[in-house]
Amino acid sequence: MNRKVAVIGVGNSKFGKRDDVTIKELAWESVKEALEDAGLTQKDIDITVIGSTAYRGTEIYPAPPVSEYCGLVGKSPIRVEAACATGSSAAFTAINLIASGLADIVLAIGVDKMTEVDTSTSLAIGGRGGNYYWEFHMYGTTFPTYYALYATRHMALFGTTEEDMALASVKAHKYATLNEKAHFRNKITVEDVLKSRVISWPIKLLDSSPISDGSATVIFASEEKVRELKIDTPIWVKGIGYSSDTSYIAARGEWVGLEAARDAAAKAYKMAKISPLDIEYATVHDCFTIAEIMAYEDLGFVEKGKGAELLREGQTEKDGKVAVNLFGGLKAKGHPLGATGLSMIYEVTKQLREEAGPVQHSFKRYLALTHNVGGTGHYAYVMIFNR
């Protein structure tokens, strides 16, 4: 990058079924918090980036109403979309605007109102998260089906079990009880997961992240601005990696990990000049429990096939070898697509600033990572941050 970029303000709305607000008020909750966190007002913002998938809400062009409501008219909202990695694509765009020298302070909002349509419509929209003709049209695939195809093969090749996958969900719910912004705040057991309704075998209801509403906002600034504003604890962007894969999932040739995530991780580690084992805290894209297991492997925390072992040994708990998703994950905090990637940066920032309260991890080198996947590895963003 030509110029260093830091996170200087973060905000996060309460995630959940938010039928008390429209997308505008929902966005404002995190925008207000981020502006206050950075000690800025809207006047200080050069450009706004809005990440929203929008198809499940009434506002299918959400950028203008959101920017108007948040007092950001004239800040040219750039709307971006990368399915479930939309939030990271907003961060990616914001970081690039600063790194290139085009802007000094950029506000990235991620917001989605997903519960405005019924579940069957939502599944039909998610089923198009691949390739309409060759998947959804003929085979009635749903979004869980795509991840289930990976889960079945991972089980067959490496002996990963449904119980192993359930552990990821149990861990997510345990930490979400401590997160007041989480969609679900109840503890669950392995048995609860195994007994829950089958959605697309082997994926069950409690293997799945919920359909959530929510927003997250991150304010990025250049090094000059960080100095000028005398920011106490800037969180620096150390590395960014991005990649993509085929829309038609069958074309990939193997279904035990996400090639896009592996490629994005390699690029991010290279830019940050660190190795996977240097990461102390990671937020990973656990849209389904198998996705968390594959993420451990794709990020290089363990070799391919050994993800479940890391989970079984408790190495990804707070103060474990590499702590993962101490905020409750997408599984329990919720997964409002546009917000998720920025919500991960919110959580990583809180951890690196040591403002994470009961879930504060103990750092030595203050190195953390976000892993945000769009579609079933159709997009992947890996970002590395440090204090």
Partner: protein
Amino acid sequence: MDGIPLLFKYTVPDKLYEKFWEGLKRGEIYTTKCKKCGTLYYPPRKDCEKCMSSDMEWVKLSNEGILMTYSVVKQKPQGFENYSDYTVGIARNSDGANLMCWVKGEAKVGKKVRLTTDGQRVICEVIE
């Protein structure tokens, strides 16, 4: 309160891959192969992204394959509510093409399958 519903009505091209849809009606699976560089594509394509040629020929795929993975769809999306549970799979056929399909019979990763159709989609039958 209720919002105003938005109903999308789509018209999709049916001539572009007519040979594929026609084949499905006869239990056959057709795809395209680039005449210039020989790349076999599945699903079929109008254009070759490898050598930039658009001179493609239709070829019939072999019906022998192996089941690579599968999932049983219990909660169905809009448009499929009236189907009973179906098993979506990925089969690799002996030409090296990877095909999404519906699986009939007892699904298991690595099993040999016979590729056919039900008139509307590719079906892979598990060979016992």
